[in-house]
Structure formats: structure tokens, C-alpha cells
């Protein structure tokens, strides 16, 4: 039997309809969230400021897609990440990575652009990684792989911890929640969102600086 992508989508949507995935979250994923201003200024260059932490977002983040898997608007996500970095006395810098939708590689790429060597990579659906430039791409300092469990408070803590790493401190890792039900409940939706993300990938396009 031939299974087209269209068919898979149909099946996922039907299954999701029966599962009421948004129960108890308090956010409405159906609600339209306005896009974030993602004005690109220039090609991103390696920074020299030891005081910065670079946040790298995935290709569709902020404009093609505007909220995470549990409906947190991207604007809020960025705000909390930046606030966490600022509270520790460092400066956030925002770039957009086009050539991949793999969070490990996004985080590693922006860590290499960061003057402090610390970068945060984030996908549209909310999966996040704190990376250090000397690590291999598939290693990391902290990984938040279950996107449905990453809330605003966690984003603030991620920003704070990344800044602490940049200062050479040794923060306690942000507590990662683990919910065995998150996988079955969200796997289909995550696959859909990933498909959407991948459509914005442009392997020939350079990583761009986003205006503040």
C-alpha cells in the first residue's frame, strides 16, 4: 500500500481530534498568535563579547510558526530566555539558523557564534538545548527534549543557567520534568510540527542576525 504524506497527516489529525491533547494545559493551541518581529539585519558573525549568550532559533521560529507545542507564544519564550540572561548581568543576542532544523546542531552553531562560547538553541515547538562551542554537536550542557513539558518558568531558568555557564559558574541543572505520557500524547503533533519546520529549512542560507 502506498502511504503518502497527505495520508499520514490525515491520520494524525484524526487521532489528535480524539485525544483532546490540550486538556489541562490552560493554553489554547488553536488560538492564533501574532508573529514576532524577526527582522534580519546581516549575516551573523562570531562575537567577541565575553558577556553575551547567543540564542539561536530554528528556521520557522517566530514567523512561519508562532507558538510552541503547548501554545506558548514565541514572543514570550524569547522574553523569558532574555530575561534570564539579563538577570545574571549578561547580554542576549538573537540569531536565526536556516540550514538545519536539528536542535543540537542549531545550539552548537550559535555557541560557536557566541563570544562566551555558550549558546541556546530552540525549535519552534519548544525543544531546547544549552550548548558550549567546544563540545561535539550531539553532546550538550543541558537538554530539554520533551517540548510539551517546557513552560515559561523553565525558559527563564534556561536563560539564567546559560548565563551562569558563560560566567564560569556551576549552576545546578534546570530540573527536567519527565512525563511518560508526553510521548504518546504529543508524538503525532510533534511530527507534524517538525514537518512544518523542515519546510522552512534552506541549506544554502547563512545564519542571520535578528535586530533587537
Amino acid at each position: 500500500m502506498n502511504i503518502s504524506e497527505e495520508m499520514v497527516k490525515q491520520i494524525i489529525i484524526e487521532v489528535l481530534d480524539q485525544m483532546h491533547v490540550t486538556e489541562g494545559i490552560g493554553l489554547n493551541p488553536d488560538e492564533d498568535v501574532p508573529p514576532v518581529d524577526m527582522t534580519e539585519t546581516e549575516e551573523a558573525k562570531p562575537g567577541t563579547d565575553r558577556n553575551e549568550v547567543v540564542i539561536g532559533v530554528s528556521p520557522a521560529f517566530g514567523n512561519m510558526m508562532t507558538k510552541t507545542i503547548i501554545g506558548i507564544p514565541h514572543r514570550e519564550v524569547l522574553r523569558e530566555l532574555k530575561a534570564g540572561i539579563e538577570e545574571e548581568g549578561l547580554h542576549p543576542r538573537l540569531v536565526k539558523v536556516y540550514r538545519t532544523a536539528d536542535v543540537g546542531f542549531i545550539a552548537h552553531e550559535v555557541a560557536k557564534l557566541s563570544g562566551s562560547g555558550i549558546g541556546i538553541g530552540i525549535l519552534s515547538r519548544g525543544t531546547t538545548v544549552i550548548h558550549q562551542k567546544n563540545l561535539a554537536p550531539l553532546q550538550n550542557l543541558e537538554l530539554f527534549s520533551q517540548s510539551p513539558l517546557v513552560d515559561l518558568e523553565t525558559f527563564r531558568s534556561i536563560g539564567r543557567n546559560a548565563a551562569k555557564y558563560a560566567k564560569g559558574e556551576s549552576p545546578s541543572p534546570v530540573p527536567v520534568r519527565n512525563d511518560p505520557m508526553a510521548r504518546p500524547r504529543y508524538q503525532g503533533l510533534a511530527a507534524l510540527l517538525h514537518n512544518k519546520e523542515v519546510q522552512s529549512v534552506d541549506q544554502g542560507k547563512k545564519t542571520m542576525e535578528i535586530s533587537r
Partner: protein, 607 residues
Amino acid sequence: MTYIAGVDVGNNTTEVAIARVDTAGKPDILSSSLVRTMGIKGTIRNALGVIDALDKGLAAVGLERKDLSLILLNEATPVIGDVAMETITETVITESAMIGHNPGTPGGLGLGVGTTITLDQLESTQLPGPWIVVISDQFDFKEVAERLTRGVSRGLIVSGAIVKKDDAVLITNRLHRSVPIVDEVSHIDRVPLGMPAAVEVAGQGKAIEKLSNPYDIATLFDLTPEETKQVVPIARALMGTRSAVVIKTPRGEIEERRIPAGSIVLLGEVRKESVKVEEGAEAIMQKVALVSPLVEIQAEAGTHVGGMFEHIRTVMADLTDQPVSAIQVQDILAVDTLKPQRVLGSLAGEYSMGNAVGLAAMVRTHKLPMQRLARKLEEEISIPSSIGGVEAEMAIRGALTTPGLKPPMAILDLGGGSTDASMINEAGHITSIHLAGAGDMVTLLIDTELGLDDRDLAEKIKVNPLAKVETLFHMRHEDGSVQFFNEPLEPRLFGRVVVLAGEGPVPLDIKEPLSKIVQIRQNAKRKVFVRNSLRALERIAPAGNIRLISFVALVGGSALDFEIPRMISDVLVEYGVVTGRANIRGVEGPRNAVATGLVLAHVNSVH
């Protein structure tokens, strides 16, 4: 020609020396081995470890069990140590008079004085202030900054803020004129409103100046001399912090309370003294010295310290098949320490370092059942086994094989449960002593002062040096040297203080900086080992004068520690004593002294 084996069953390790004795009766030690002791020292379970150690030693020189004609066991010193910790002070804040905690990132700089008010009330008030704004977690940092700015533009004076969330820097960055802000105050709802308050934030790396000085607090709040007396504990508690809040409440006060932990009675040969544990280690040790030589130590029943003594007695009674009443505690070592404790009635979950007393106790019984162990060995492997000699004597005989040593000399055996010392004079007369407090006590002190609640980790910190992983390619050791790596280190080590344990670096989840941990570790070792070494040597030295001992050799596991030998040497050099790690037979280092001594003593007695 025969083969014999000396076996030393210790608290932690079982050591063996295998020797060939030629027809002229000259011993030649062929090999040695070391395994972990199975079970508690002096019990039948030890046999398994002994057999294991024998097999290892024999295999190294191609012999078999049947080649052995005799196994010599040590007459284990029947001492057992136990350690316990008693907290003796606690800090209590009544009516929330102060917040003196160290949030990682307070905002602003300087001192602000005013009356406490909520953010909502600030909107409507017509009074100019000055105000200290109390901000709960329902407000976002941006909104807080906007509201404060609006208030200021209305002509209000905002001189500082107390914030629940970790938002101080974010708020300060958004104000036109920065004010001192203390954040992460978890119980913000307990902050009294409409009260005079002061907020102080010091620059990075500095400590507050005003709120840690009682006279400055008196100046700020216009206090009478009587009231000033009451704020002394507040000022003391705030010394050294980077930020603080003091609120003047009508009856608010902070006090340090002493917790009754029980008293102990020291029975000496000639006199009897009683001392309360909460008087501290110094007082206890003074009394111990006064009463010495000790016969028995009793603890007040139904108290913390009573419970600890009871526990030691029960364990020892089990071990030796004697009634609990026959067990006597014969020495204690008390050490002052600090224990992090939650401040009762605090606003921000503050901790204060409460005083505590660590106690190590040592029990002596008639005899450990080593004879039973010897019989068990004979049954198991059919080789004649017997008790070869007293541990302390054997140890000194073994130690004398160290090149460069001659009597009169003393050995210090720094073990896990007890610190033992023996002395041999020119005439060959041996005296020895066992004192409470050794390696286990050090572990307990480290565990407590760092608030780890993890003895295994404390043990690792005790025996290994520390380093800070600065990047993935280099770490800085505690002595300041830098080590580079070609391959990146594991990410979980990044930025952390690590213990350089045998199995690789272990990251520590401790907020204290590396230098502080090193300091705690070294102090713990000094408090126990250095103090006990002096105590022990004074007791065995001729006329109690350490200067009359020419040589001191360190034996036992703790002699292998990377810093203890040096600490002891530093102290003893003042007495003109040559101090060093023993080197048994010139090859073993500080290990195998007793096993070697057993073999030598046996050969001497036969021929």
C-alpha cells in the same frame, strides 16, 4: 625450610605477609597482599577476607595453601569507634525583623530607607514617602518597572524594593534611577507593611557595611541604647552578606538559642567531672584532660548524647558477646563544627551556620574473639592458625624495618575509627594507647559542614584533591596549576568543582567555592588528626614530653593521605621530632606493618 604467613585484620583492610623461614631461622618475606576486610573486624566473617588475601599473596610467588605451615593472626586491638553530631545552637527570628540572605543577583547599589508598602498601595498613596516597595510574584518585571517609574514621576520617593521573584536586575535595568533591590524573598507575604525598613546592596565581591553595624542600624531607625542592644544579633547575622533588609517591627527580634543536648560524666582514676555538651568541644576536652586517665564515660540517659553512647555500647556488646553493661566508653574526642541550619521564622529561607559539636567515642572490651577466627580458619583451609601477638607491638616491630629508624621511636596509626600510638624505648619496652576519633570523624565533619548528607561523597572529598573545570579543555587544580586536555572533558563537568577521585573527576553540586571546600577539608583533618596525634604522643612520651621522642613514623591507611602526613609533620617539627611515613621493609610504604611484625616476632620467639 618452611613458609609462614602473618595476617592483620584491620577495620578496613586485611593485610598479609608471606615469608620463607630457612633452616637457620632467618625469615625472608616473599610477598604481601591487601584486600578489603569482610564484615566487622573481629567477627567470623573476616575469615573469607583472610583466605582471599592469603590466596593473592601465595599466587604472587607461585605457592599453594598447602605449602603454608602456620598462619599468625594479630590480637586485634579491641577498640571500636563511633561518631555523632549534636547541634547546640539555632537561630530564631520572631516577628520577621530581618532578611539577610544572599540572592545571587540583587539589583542596584547602596542603602535605601523608607516605609514598607505594596505596589498596589503605591498607586493610590498621596504621601511622598520615602517608600520601600514590597513586590509579590503576581507582577511581571516590566510592569513593576513601569509602575515604579510612574510613582516616581508623581513625585513619590521610592528608595528601595523587596521582590519575591528573581527579578532584581531586570527591574533595576528598567528604572531611570536605580535603587537597591533585594530579590528571591520567598515568604514575601510575611513582610510587615507600614513599617520602617532599610534595604542595602553592596557591589560585587563586597559585603554590606551599614546594616551589619548595630550603631548604623540605630542611626537609621533612631533606636535607644536599650533597643540597640537587641539588634546586635541582627547585625551579626548580616555580616558578610552582599545584600540585606532590616525591618523595624514593634516586638521583632532575633535570638540565638542553645539547645540542650545532654551532659556527660567523665570518671577518671582519681576524680569525676560532669560537662554539658552544649558548652562546646573546648570545654569538653579541657575536662577530659583534667580527669585523664579516664576509666569510663557516662552520658545522661534520655538525651541526644545518651542515645549515641547507648548505640555504641549495643554494637560492641553484639560483637563481643558480652552484656551491654560490661561495655565501657573509654575515650572521646569532641570537635566544634558548624552546621547549616534553616533559620526559624525566616522570610527568604535563610540558612545560618549553627554551632554543633561532633563526638567520637571509643570503647574497649576484654578481647575480640580472634581465637574463634583462628579456629574457623583452621577448619576452612586446614592450616594451623594462632594468635601471633598484640597489634600495637607487632606494628612497631614492623615499622622498625623502615630504613633509617631506631628506638626510641613512636608510631602513629591513623585509622578509620581510632588513632593509635605506640612507643618503644631503647630497652625495647613498648607502651601504647588508643584514642577516639580518626578518619570516620573527618568524613562526618566534612559531610556536616558542607551540608551534603552523603557520607560516600564526603569520603571522596576527604581523600582526593579538588579542581575546577574552567573550560572543556582545561582544569585548574586546587594548588593553582592548570592541566590541559587534548580531548574535551565530559559536558557534565563543565564549569564545576570536581573531586579527582580514582574513577575520574566527580562533579560536586555545591555552591561553595573551591577554596572554601578545601578549607573545610583541611580544618577537619587538623581538628581530628593533628589534635589526636599530639594527644596520643603526649600520653606515651617519656614524662609526657614529646621532645623526648626522636622519631615518629606514620603507618596505616590515613598515612597515605595526600596532606595528613604533612600537617602532622608541620606540627611535630616544632618539637624537634623526625616525622615521616613509614616504609615497611623498605618497599611497602606505610602498609603491612602488623603482618610483617607478626612474622618477625614469631621467628624471634622460636629461635
